[in-house]
């Protein structure tokens, strides 16, 4: 998992309630329009020990993953997501970034015996964003839905994960790829309809997919990724609907447990280098600004061979900050990332500074360009600022 996501998990558990009630009921489901000044605090509060976390299923150690079943939902774990990011280019050479994430949160550890088809303990949240790089325009939408009556959910054979008309669906019954991703938000004038193929096999994060986040063995997630996907399809931005091609990345993670309370946030990098390598690192930031020892990463070679990275294997330094004028938060949007063992020394720059998500849980998620010892593109996520 990405550390930000742990916080995200915790945040979701605690904040979905507020999100639904405040965001959906009061603002009609539209993204909250005004700065949520206490968002980070709520996040931190939500990261504290959870009262009934014990009742949910826990990730306590490595176990063999089972596909396609594990591509579907794990309803007894509190939190889970399907996380697509990618960089696309139109036939005319215009660059775009996209993000489509479907989050699932269980409100209760066990399903009740309830007769209504509407009854569910699963709440789904979707985040969808598209960035027009040249225009410097980043548009994002948030949606909620209940996990009942087929309104949102995840199934296998074929794999289908959806929230209303946002959908990820495999072409065939057995394999996850190729698949099709569709999402649109007419109110914001954005949409994607992409055919996606895997160009490298799946990589398991941490110890065979067991990704520890804290000291206790149960403070961990199940985490795997597809780091190099080919995307081909159509995109809508405003009144433009160009045909696009490019690369994408899928993160899959589910868990129940929380991070330590003294973790402030995280910086997560998913980079696809032109030399065929893919690099993912996340740094967990402690309240005192230091790097948590559970920070980690993975380096995937041209042929899909993976090397798991630990906190000692890389260094990150922020080089330029951008301040979100709507919230006042300052995000580092230019970084230097070094992996001395691998001879990697990269400059990572946001392709558009303002790619802050105006969603209930606030974070920065956006397309980046890589230069230095290797060039490439990628996605960067920053929370807790």
């Amino acid at each position: 998992m990405r550390n930000r996501l742990d916080a995200g998990l915790l945040g979701l558990a605690g904040l979905l309630l507020a999100a639904i009630v405040i965001g959906v009921l009061r603002f009609g489901g539209a993204p909250a329009g005004d700065p949520s000044t206490d968002g980070a605090q709520s996040l931190a509060a939500a990261m504290g020990p959870s009262a009934n976390a014990d009742a949910f299923a826990r990730v306590t150690g490595p176990r063999p993953l089972d596909f396609p079943a594990d591509h579907g939902a794990h309803p007894d774990h509190r939190t889970e997501w399907w996380y697509f990011t990618g960089n696309l280019t139109s036939a005319a050479g215009r660059d775009y970034g996209f993000q489509l994430t479907l989050f699932r949160t269980a409100l209760a550890p066990e399903a009740g015996d309830r007769p209504s088809d509407w009854a569910t303990r699963q709440v789904w949240m979707g985040h969808f964003a598209v960035t027009d790089i040249a225009a410097g325009d980043h548009r994002a939408v948030e949606r909620y839905q209940r996990g009942g009556l087929g309104l949102a959910g995840a199934t296998t054979r074929p794999v289908r994960v959806w929230l209303d008309d946002w959908q990820i669906q495999s072409d065939g019954p057995e394999a996850l790829f190729p698949l099709r991703v569709t999402a649109s938000a007419p109110s914001r004038g954005i949409g994607i309809d992409l055919a996606i193929k895997a160009q490298k096999p799946r990589v398991l994060q941490g110890d065979r997919g067991y990704s520890r986040k804290g000291e206790a063995p149960g403070n961990a997630s199940r985490y795997y990724s597809y780091t190099r996907l080919a995307a081909d399809g159509e995109l809508r931005f405003g009144d433009q609907t160009p045909a696009v091609t490019g690369s994408a990345w899928l993160d899959r993670e589910w868990s129940t447990s929380a991070l330590d309370a003294d973790q402030a946030g995280w910086d997560w990098f998913a980079l696809q280098l032109d030399d065929g390598r893919d690099l993912m690192v996340y740094r967990l930031r402690r309240q005192d600004g230091s790097t948590d020892r559970h920070s980690a990463g993975i380096l995937v070679g041209r042929g899909g061979e993976a090397r798991v990275l630990s906190a000692e294997d890389f260094t990150l330094s922020a080089q330029r900050e951008w301040q979100n004028p709507r919230t006042g938060s300052r995000y580092p949007v230019a970084w230097r990332l070094q992996l001395p063992d691998e001879g990697i020394d990269l400059q990572v720059n946001a392709r558009v500074d303002d790619q802050a998500m105006p969603t209930t849980v606030r974070y920065w998620e956006g397309s980046v360009a890589v230069t230095g010892s290797a060039s490439g593109v990628g996605y960067l996520e920053m929370t807790g600022y």
């Binding site: 309630l17 639904i20 009630v21 405040i22 959906v24 009921l25 009061r26 603002f27 009609g28 489901g29 539209a30 409100l107 209760a108 009740g112 309830r114 007769p115 209504s116 088809d117 509407w118 009854a119 569910t120 303990r121 709440v123 909620y144 839905q145 209940r146 009942g148 009556l149 087929g150 309104l151 959806w162 209303d164 008309d165 959908q167 649109s184 007419p186 109110s187």
Partner: protein, 830 residues
């Protein structure tokens, strides 16, 4: 206006506090009635609107189906396949608090994830906190608004028992939502999953609310598929509001009657003022005071009376409205919309209307007397004889004006079809009759005069009454109008009630009625029909069919072969109508429905069935007072074919002759054992309950009738008292020439009683005419109801007695003054 001249007027008012005060009181009561009725109407409308909106929210359209509702899977398809975002599922049902209160509530099941844009009151809360999880996860979790929680006496965490479909369920109030406007009065909100379980409506929705533009709705409608269609969301609310408008127009008209009477009162006071001030005005005119300055003085005095009376009236009206709003809402609840409830809503327009009525009414009423006073010639004054001579001439002219107004009113009524023109005509008739009143006094005087020859005291009574026309004419007119209103409304209510009784006797054909909170089944009906002492059973289902023009109430009636529906068919004749009805594809419609839709026998009525329409023939029109919105009666077989609904809302049990009713009730009840909440009601109980509701419905009308009477009462007291007080010198002369105290008191009260009697008697034909207009014109135009005319002596006697008693009461003080007169001082004059 010259300050001193203004002061003369004010000082004159101050020197006659009783008369001035009574005039102000009259204005105050009239204004109060108008303001109170308008406030009550406004509040009732608000209550209805708020209640309707609390369920409809800001939806623009609704997807509806047949009696079975809408398949819930349609909602999923709308969202996932069509990407429709602004759609929200709704189910709702009636529940009853299972405690002593028996409070009826609406359980509303909605989906928090879809509610956002729809702005239903409970959807606007953001303080649900942890209760959200409970709502999502539990089948017994509900939320109520703060106002309703207070009424129910519950707070967050409390449990309460509800009777739903006859069965007891315990729910937990997991949160009390802010609801500052008490919009969610009578509502219990639950998540749609819990609501489906509580209401036992799994798999279906009552409707899907949409927020789309008309073009999108139309496009959507074409592809929705079978069994469902789209109707405008406001249709239902609009139809309720529209129907209740007729009722409110009636109330407003009644309140305006009080204004007419109040205006008479101001007119009367000012006329009297003009007469009394003739001497002063003559001097002022001689001194070079212009006519318009006199006019200004009189109008100023009228305004003063108007302002004080109006301000008092506004306050009084506001207080009165608190009482009236309950009565209006009661009627609205009984007749139109079962969840309208609310408190007084202050409306600046109501207050403005009161202000306008009070001030403008005073000035308009004062215009004629003020012009009269200003025309006073510039010398000491006309003699009293000249004045009365003039009054007689005026009485004659007013008589013609009145007759013309009467005729004009009749023409307006005859040529128009609307409700408002009917009231305009009605008012013209009333005013016309009022203008004729002075001429009536003269005629009565001429009739009585020969009888009084040789009876000096009797002669004085008649002459005194007739000769004082300048000051009594208006009072008598006002009293006539008010008494006529009292009589007319009473006769109308009596006629209506008699018709309702007649109708109930005809339509309550069954001996017992079986009902249950949930639908009954044919098997249950068969079980009852099989009982030995049961001749046959009738099977009824009711369904409010949503249409573009609001819901249409369908009544499906199943009868054994050879039995006819027990309805009173008005047109065409019964045999023809029933033959057409039996022929198939035909319905009988109630009078209000025929009036609303402008339908006659032989016409075609197209009803939506699924996503198409089915044309049915109107076989006949039957009498029905149950619903002002009307109903469509169709054979149950046809209904089942069209709407695939086999449920029964009621079973009518027709007993064999001579059976032991008590024993039969027992057998019926045991046959129904196991049907939750099933009830057997004797037809006599239904009859009584219906009449109770009828009487409750007219409570507000009764109150207004008496308020209009009260204004007239005050007016008469004021006018007659002024008259008698003005004649103290004349009384002194009579005393001086030897009339005893008792004789004088008799003379004074005799004159007043005579005037009261004239007013009362004149009010009788006027009141009957008014009643006839209400019965045959107003009620038919407002509701489409036809009814018989039931004229009884009671209300007429009551009205005449009211007039005479008012007149006699008015003389108490002057008679007392007259008998205690110090003769010499009074003779000396002012």
């Amino acid at each position: 206006m010259n300050r001193l001249i203004a002061r003369i007027g004010r000082a004159d008012l101050a020197r006659h506090p009783l008369q001035t005060g009574l005039a102000m009181l009259g204005v105050a009561i009239a204004v109060a009635v108008v303001v109170a009725v308008d406030l009550a109407n406004h509040s009732a409308r608000e209550a209805m609107r708020v209640s309707l909106e609390s369920v409809t929210g800001s939806a623009t359209h609704q997807i509806v189906g047949g009696p079975a509702g809408v398949d819930e899977r349609l909602y999923t398809r709308l969202r996932t396949d069509r990407g429709l975002r602004r759609a929200a599922p709704v189910i709702q049902g009636g529940v009853v608090r299972a405690d002593g209160s028996g409070r009826a509530l609406t359980l509303l099941g909605v989906d928090a994830f879809a509610e956002g844009p729809f702005q239903r009151p409970l959807g606007q809360t953001n303080n649900l906190g942890d209760a959200f999880n409970d709502l999502m996860l539990r089948d017994d979790a509900v939320v109520v608004g703060a106002g309703e929680a207070e009424r129910l006496g519950v707070s967050a965490g409390d449990r309460m028992d509800l009777l739903i479909g006859g069965e007891r369920h315990t729910v937990t109030v997991v949160a009390v939502a802010d609801d500052p406007e008490d919009q969610s009065r009578g509502l219990i909100l639950a998540d749609i999953a819990a609501a489906q379980t509580l209401l036992d409506q799994h798999g279906r929705l009552d409707r899907i609310d949409l927020m789309v533009d008309d073009a999108r709705a139309e496009a959507l409608a074409e592809t929705l598929g079978e069994g469902v269609r789209i109707v405008p969301a406001a249709a239902s609310a609009q139809s309720v509001l529209q129907m209740s408008r007729a009722f409110q127009i009636n109330l407003t008209a009644l309140s305006l009657l009080a204004v007419v009477v109040g205006a008479f009162l101001v007119f009367n006071t000012l006329s009297f003022l003009g007469v009394r001030r003739r001497a002063s005005i003559g001097i002022l005119r001689a001194m070079g005071v212009q006519r318009r300055e006199i006019l200004a003085q009189m109008i100023g005095d009228a305004l003063l009376i108007g302002v004080v009376g109006t301000l008092a009236g506004l306050a009084l009206g506001y207080a009165l409205a608190h009482g009236l709003v309950g009565l209006v809402l009661q009627t609205v609840n009984d007749v139109y919309f079962a969840r309208a409830a609310g408190d007084l809503v202050a409306s600046p327009w109501s207050l403005a209307a009161g202000l306008l009525v009070g001030l403008a009414g005073s000035v308009v009423a004062a215009a004629a007397p003020a012009r009269d006073a200003a025309a006073t010639p510039p010398r000491a004054a006309l003699s009293r004889a000249d004045l009365e001579q003039r009054a007689r001439r005026l009485a004659g002219r007013a008589g013609w004006v009145g007759a013309s107004a009467l005729a004009a009113g009749a023409v307006v009524i005859a040529l128009s079809t609307g409700l408002v023109p009917a009231f305009v005509g009605l008012f013209a008739v009333i005013l016309g009759a009022a203008f004729i009143a002075p001429a009536i006094i003269l005629a009565v005087g001429a009739l009585l005069r020969p009888l009084m020859r040789g009876r000096p005291v009797g002669g004085l009574i008649v002459e005194g009454a007739v000769a004082s026309l300048s000051r009594t004419g208006v009072a008598v007119a006002a009293l006539s109008v008010a008494v006529a209103a009292v009589i007319g409304v009473a006769v109308m209510i009596a006629s209506f009630r008699a018709s309702v009784v007649d109708w109930l006797e005809g339509s309550l054909a069954a001996d017992f009625y079986v009902s249950a909170p949930a639908d009954l089944s044919d098997a249950q009906a068969d079980r009852l029909a099989a009982l030995e002492s049961v001749r046959f059973v009738s099977r009824s289902q009711w369904y409010d069919l949503p249409t573009d023009d609001g819901p249409v109430t369908l009544w499906a009636l199943g009868l054994p072969d050879g039995r006819e529906p027990a309805v009173d068919i008005r047109r065409p004749d019964r045999a023809d109508a029933l033959a057409a009805y039996r022929a198939g594809g035909a319905v009988l419609i109630s009078e209000p429905f025929a009036a609303r839709r402008d339908l006659a026998p032989g016409d075609t009525l197209a009803l939506p069935v699924g996503d198409s329409r089915r044309a049915l023939t109107v076989a006949g029109v039957y009498r029905d007072y149950a619903s002002p919105t009307g109903a469509v009666l169709m054979p149950r077989d046809l209904y089942r074919e069209l709407y695939a609904d086999a449920g029964l809302a009621g079973i009518g049990v027709h007993a064999r002759d001579g059976v032991d009713r008590e024993a039969l009730i027992g057998r019926l009840e045991s046959a129904l054992a196991g049907v939750p909440g099933a009830r057997v009601t004797d037809n006599a109980a239904v009859f009584e309950q219906s009449l109770r509701i009828f009487d409750r419905t007219f409570a507000i009308t009764e109150v207004l009738r008496w308020l209009a009477g009260l204004v007239a009462f005050v007016g008469v007291i004021s006018a007659l008292m002024a008259l008698q007080l003005d004649r103290l010198r004349e009384f002194a002369v009579l005393r001086a020439v030897g009339l005893g105290r008792a004789g004088l008191a008799g003379l004074v009260s005799g004159q007043s009683a005579l005037l009261g009697l004239i007013a009362g008697l004149w009010a009788v034909p006027l009141g009957v005419a008014l009643a006839a207009l209400l019965v045959f014109v107003i009620n038919r135009r407002a509701y489409g109801w036809t009814m018989g005319f039931e004229l009884q002596a009671g209300p007429l006697v009551e009205g005449v007695a009211l007039a005479v008693i008012a007149a006699l009461l008015a003389t108490l003080y002057p008679a007392w003054r007259a008998t205690r007169l110090r003769i010499a001082a009074a003779l000396k004059g002012e």
